[in-house]
Subunit: 140 residues, 3 copies
Amino acid sequence: MGTDAPLLLAAVSLLSALQMGFLARRVGLSRIAHKVLPPSVTGPPEFERTFRAHQNCVECYPVFLVTLWSCGLFFSEVTAAVAGLVYIIARQIYANGYVKSTKKRLPGFYLTMAVFVTLSLLGLVGILHKILHKYFKIHL
Amino acid sequence: MGTDAPLLLAAVSLLSALQMGFLARRVGLSRIAHKVLPPSVTGPPEFERTFRAHQNCVECYPVFLVTLWSCGLFFSEVTAAVAGLVYIIARQIYANGYVKSTKKRLPGFYLTMAVFVTLSLLGLVGILHKILHKYFKIHL
Amino acid sequence: MGTDAPLLLAAVSLLSALQMGFLARRVGLSRIAHKVLPPSVTGPPEFERTFRAHQNCVECYPVFLVTLWSCGLFFSEVTAAVAGLVYIIARQIYANGYVKSTKKRLPGFYLTMAVFVTLSLLGLVGILHKILHKYFKIHL
């Protein structure tokens, strides 16, 4: 199994998981810096923005993984892996901007959306193409 | 790999990912409608219900994916895919109801639980069956 | 596909998904015990700790799945499965401790971090090893 598993998708997935760990750690450090003790999630604006930046990435992450693998398995592994790297960069721009101000989260947010549209559209095309081929014998 | 990957599970996964995007967007629109600026997550009751409906789906989503694929790979792909479609419908009933009132989230909630019980039980049966076969040479 | 799919990784994934369901149910029971009606997520300290314990597991869960499968597919399935079982135990210690007091979440938290470091490092080694082999013809 290991040798057949899509290497680039796995590499991008693991890289993005490490990024999630990095963003979670930043929330922990922000808790210490602003003296916000768990289980509280409210505090100074900078803490709340750091916290919400991470939460937004938590909300997006499983959606990212599904669209990454859909595009990678049914359309093109290289295209998906490149889009996945752009996603990781987009999330970093988003989180770094959000920590500074609510408005500065927007460029990274829009880039994230662009990656989601790309990955899900290409994944949809790939899956529909295979469904037509397998269940309806239609070869486009 | 792409041609061997389970097509129906992938299709249902991608569809559910698009639904997650739809529910996230609804929170964004509710922010605008109720003038709740990020990073705040508190506001009028309708906004808070819309927000919590999405959060609950975020909490459920990775659990759904794991039970969907467990059932689909080790019990039956068609059964899992059908249950997965019911899950997507259940989550939509849940979220649409929750936006209206806290009580109206319940029908969709119970249907979601029914799908989780089905998918995880069948996945468990399938996996245990294969473990007995592979590691204990027991053929049921 | 079903017969080739990594059985131990699937078993650990399904077990951890059931644990997530168990922890979500505990939040529901805590809502009833402390009369915290949805969509509210604030209330007595014990409820808030129970809620945050589950939320933290929600944040960690997709990261766990990615590191589990990276290690299991590219390094060693048995090692990953054992580490995965330790993760499930660690999260239970964490959540049980957190319900009692904020400080008692720490032993389970540190054990969780140890599993994450192990799984992601071994996954990284396995993936880099295969990338060197496949794309650079370097056989270590």
